[in-house]
């Protein structure tokens, strides 16, 4: 008989991401697709669902949805719009037009920077609802509110809902999935993917199962995840909650749970027993959507290089692993062309990656020639690491010529003998510390580096100083007279 360990649970997560498409107009009418306008100004009989109005499908929205499908390696198929029927004040027609069992995009995948792959079940088109604000009582929810305000500007904005397979195994991976998805959506021009404006919205399906088993556990669906950070926190909370229940011999209830960012916890919204029957049926006011081969080829040809392919190219040029964190960051920052240009201009791949990933994240990137020049100066030892970072910062702030910036800062890398003299002077000035350092107090290396830096006004290369200290130590222990 085997003993079951009670601590070993595996987290299983699938994500549903709603993405507003960056069209000029709404999905079924000519109203502006814009965020932040005066409420109920971008409305017409169609998106207000007035009696007698009819939808006309926005071709550009379809094209953007096709781009999403292609970028996620989906199969694009003939599709159909259905009506999802339920009553809510922000639904002008009390049904939502959405793709149901015949979506446009199926069977894709998303490759993450760490090398893992998350399956994409489907990416279907649908219309957004209006936005409701519940005023007074009820804690911002409809029940108990004094009254509710509805803004229909958002009603009818085109969405793509991207549904992942339950392939995600950690909060970190879930966050990486969303970040990668955002990068793709922005790269292909499908969406601005701004979570703070609601143009990207995430629901997470979370369950646990015993490590090593295959069957999926009962899942909870988490809503109201308004940032990637919230997603990570909510998943971690939910895993703790479900683990506690399972460890206590209780079951997880299949239900929708609301993430409360301030309280840092999820709470039940409704269980499966109260689940709506949406009475889906084919939308008779629209005809089936089956993009032609020609159109598909056109959209495919116009797709930009995707982040995953850019990581592969960048890794090849710089000699780094494709899963290297800096490779992922540089591509995410859109600095891969800059790094590639610098390498071609003679800069070291590793150095270019590190400097781009760590020093160029905020602000205007320097021009390729200037960036390459700084890396070259650093590579030749003419600038220390610290100096190179300073020059890069100035380049980003106000541009200019790296040589001139270095000169203006007095950044002439010190000749080796000057540094050596400063090291020897520092040792001589602090014999007590030197004895302790020699006796094994390794942290005192910093003390001596600091002394040398002070003496050279920061112009010495930290690495060179450390190397000299090691050198002096070795000489001392071998009895060499220095």
């Amino acid at each position: 008989m085997t003993t079951v360990t009670t601590t070993s649970w595996e987290m299983v997560v699938g994500l549903e991401v709603h993405c507003e498409l960056a069209t000029a107009t709404k999905l079924f009418c000519g109203c502006r697709n814009a965020f932040g306008d005066e409420p109920n100004t971008n409305v017409c009989p169609v998106c207000l669902g007035l009696p007698g109005s009819l939808p006309v499908l926005n071709r550009h929205a379809v094209e953007l949805a096709m781009r999403v499908g292609l970028a996620l390696h989906c199969h694009l198929q003939p599709s159909l719009f259905h009506r999802k029927n339920y009553f809510y004040p922000d639904m002008p027609k009390d049904y939502q037009v959405s793709q149901y069992d015949e979506p446009l995009n199926v069977g894709g995948a998303l490759d993450l920077p760490d090398g893992s792959r998350v399956g994409v079940t489907r990416a279907h088109m649908e219309e957004d609802t209006g936005k409701t604000t519940h005023v007074g009582g009820g804690g911002g929810r409809i029940h108990g509110a004094d009254h509710s305000l509805v803004d229909y500007n958002r009603a009818g904005i085109p969405l793509v809902e991207i549904v992942s397979e339950p392939d995600i195994r950690s909060a970190e991976q879930a966050k990486a999935y969303v970040n990668e998805l955002r990068a793709i959506l922005v790269a292909i021009g499908a969406s601005d993917a701004r979570m703070e404006e609601g143009s990207l919205r995430i629901d997470a399906n979370v369950s646990l199962r015993r490590t090593g088993t295959e069957a999926l556990g009962t899942r909870a669906e988490i809503k109201n995840l308004n940032s990637v950070r919230s997603l990570g926190r909510a998943l971690e909370y939910e895993v703790r909650r479900q683990t506690q229940r399972l460890e206590a011999g209780e079951t997880v209830v299949q239900e929708t749970r609301h993430w409360n960012e301030d309280e840092g916890r999820t709470s039940s919204m409704r269980s499966k027993e109260e689940a709506y029957d949406y009475r889906y049926f084919p939308e008779p006011d629209l005809v089936p959507l089956a993009p032609s081969e020609e159109w598909l080829a056109e959209v495919r040809a116009a797709l930009p290089v995707l982040p995953a392919d850019r990581r592969v190219a960048l890794a090849a040029v710089t000699g780094a692993a494709v899963t290297d964190a800096s490779v992922g960051i540089v591509v995410q920052l859109g600095l891969d062309d800059l790094v590639v240009a610098a390498v071609h201009a003679g800069a070291g791949g590793r150095l270019a990656l590190n400097r781009a990933a760590n020093e160029l994240a905020h602000g205007v990137a320097p021009n390729p020639a200037a960036f390459a020049k700084v890396l070259q100066m650093e590579g030749e030892g003419r600038l220390t690491a610290t100096q190179a970072k300073t020059v890069l910062a100035e380049l980003m702030a106000s541009g200019g010529d790296p040589e001139a910036i270095a000169a203006a800062n007095g950044f002439e890398a010190l000749k080796g003998d000057v540094v050596a003299a400063a090291v020897d002077a520092a040792i001589a000035a602090s014999p007590g510390e030197w004895e302790r350092y020699a006796g094994g107090e390794a942290k005192l290396a910093g003390f001596f580096v600091g002394k040398v830096m002070a003496a050279t006004k920061g112009k010495a290369d930290g690495k060179a100083v450390t190397a000299l200290l090691a050198d002096r130590l070795a000489a001392r222990s071998t009895g060499e007279n220095w």
């Binding site: 009696p51 004040p89 009475r279 008779p284």
Partner: protein, 473 residues
């Protein structure tokens, strides 16, 4: 009854003013409207202003269009900008559409003058116009009888001479059946031939707008004006309006016409006798007439009452008191929905919403909605098979002549059977026209129906005109 063709000809030629035409019709309305209640709203002042505008254009040497000065009545489920559009329901109380239906725009652009909005069964659900929240319309031929429905107000308006033309909507026979009962011509065009933009939806995959007229030629003229592609309706067929007036005298020589066996037995003997007379007349005019079979149409009624109600349950969800129309307050939003819909909808509308909601529910969808869709496919297949041998089909329009008010209100199923002959064309999306063809034993009008394959309007109108001529002989 004055022919639209003749009015337009005279107004365009300047030999009669549109104002004169409209005043004459308004006088007719004033004489009998209180008795018949064809209208929910008579637009007397507006109509006179529109007529004056037509006259001004004629005086300025402009052509107001093919329907210059023709008085038209609109079923009250067609949106009219700034004018109440009620669907004969309390739930749309106070609502004024901010736009005109495409057909209304096209009528106006052709010079027609809208004289009013006609009564109907609430949301076009019914076959007698008794399901109106504003009371029934009566048949001009016998005010103790119904005009049929749901477009009973439009049919009665043309039959009573209130308007030369009227528009209705036909989801399962709502143009053709009242046309037959009121003794006028009624056309249900091919699905997609006439834009539905601005028609308040009952069952979107079946609804189609069409004309009522006093003659086949008037109906042809009206259909030519309202048909043709409209970008605002995704189901609109991307073709121009067909040419119909030009083919009316082409005759039926050599046309193969099949009498639908399955519908002959569904009707009263006197109605059947008129159908036989029509068949004989077409044969005498040179057509080759014999018996045809479309077996699956016997399932049409059952399939229709699942599909139409399913779509209606969704289409009518928007009447929730939130944005427009009636609102009855409640303690919370759910109670408000319930109170509003309870007060705003009539019994038949509620019955159909419940039927349709049930047909779409999880666990029942496949047995009801899914099965009905399969029946629909079978009906189309059987029609296709019949049209391999026939150019047109001939059938009765309604099982009986106009019945007494209240005769069928107690039993919804009996009422539903009024549409048994007309429903198959809606399920198939095919055109059909009801042409008056004499009278039944009770002296009331009988209509016969010509059915054609999709976009077969031109052939259908040729035969309808031939039938009409045969009566005049």
């Amino acid at each position: 009854m004055t022919a639209a063709v003749e009015i337009a000809r005279n107004v365009r030629a300047g030999s009669r003013s549109a104002r004169d035409v409209v005043e004459e019709h308004l006088a007719t309305i004033a004489g009998r409207e209180a008795e018949l209640h064809a209208f929910n709203l008579v637009l007397a002042e507006e109509a006179l202003a529109e007529a004056d505008e037509v006259d001004r254009r004629v005086a300025a040497g402009e052509d107001p269009g093919p329907l210059a000065g023709v008085p038209v009545a609109l079923k009250d489920n067609l949106c009219t900008r700034g004018v109440p559009t009620t669907c004969s329901s309390l739930i749309l109380e106070g609502w004024r559409p901010p736009y005109d239906a495409t057909v209304v725009t096209r009528l106006r652009e052709a010079g027609a003058v809208v004289v009013g909005k006609t009564n109907m069964d609430e949301f076009a659900m019914g076959s007698s116009t008794e399901n109106s929240a504003f009371g029934p319309t009566r048949n001009p031929h016998d005010p103790s009888r119904v005009p049929g429905g749901s477009s009973g107000g439009s049919a009665a308006a043309v039959a009573a001479g209130f308007a030369s033309l009227a528009l209705g909507s036909d989801t399962g026979g709502s143009i053709r059946q009242p046309a037959a009962l009121c003794g006028v011509v009624g056309v249900k065009p091919t699905y997609g031939l006439v834009s539905r933009y601005g028609l308040v939806a009952f069952a979107s995959s079946l609804d189609q707008i069409g004309p009522f007229a006093g003659s086949v030629a008037d109906a042809a003229l009206a259909l030519e004006v309202i048909a043709g592609h409209d970008r605002a309706d995704s189901t609109s067929i991307p073709r121009p309006a067909p040419s119909l007036s030009a083919v009316l005298d082409d005759g039926v020589e050599g046309l193969r016409i099949g009498v639908v066996r399955e519908l002959v037995d569904a009707v009263d003997p006197d109605v059947g006798a008129r159908l036989s007379a029509a068949a004989a007349a077409l044969e005498a005019a040179g057509a080759k007439v014999d018996e045809a079979s479309v077996p699956a149409i016997t399932f049409g009624l059952s399939a229709y009452y699942l599909l139409a109600t399913a779509e209606a349950s969704s289409n009518l969800a928007r009447y929730d008191g939130v944005r427009y129309g009636l609102r009855v307050d409640g303690d919370d939003v759910g109670a408000m929905y319930g109170a509003t819909r309870a007060a705003g909808f009539g019994a038949e509308v509620k019955r159909r919403i419940m039927l349709g909601t049930y047909a779409l529910s999880a666990g029942y969808y496949d047995a009801y909605y899914g099965q009905a869709q399969r029946v629909r496919t079978l009906i189309i297949r059987d029609f296709d098979a019949a049209y391999a041998s026939y150019d047109l089909l001939l059938a009765p329009t309604a099982p009986t002549t106009a019945f007494e008010l209240g005769a069928k209100t107690a039993d919804p199923l009996t009422m539903y059977l009024s549409d048994v002959c007309t429903i198959p064309s809606n399920l198939a999306g095919h055109p059909a026209v009801s042409v008056p063809y004499g009278r039944g034993d009770d002296g009331l009008p009988v209509g016969v129906q010509l059915l054609a394959p999709a976009l077969g309007e031109a052939t259908m109108f040729r035969a309808a005109a031939a039938l009409e001529r045969s009566l005049a002989l």
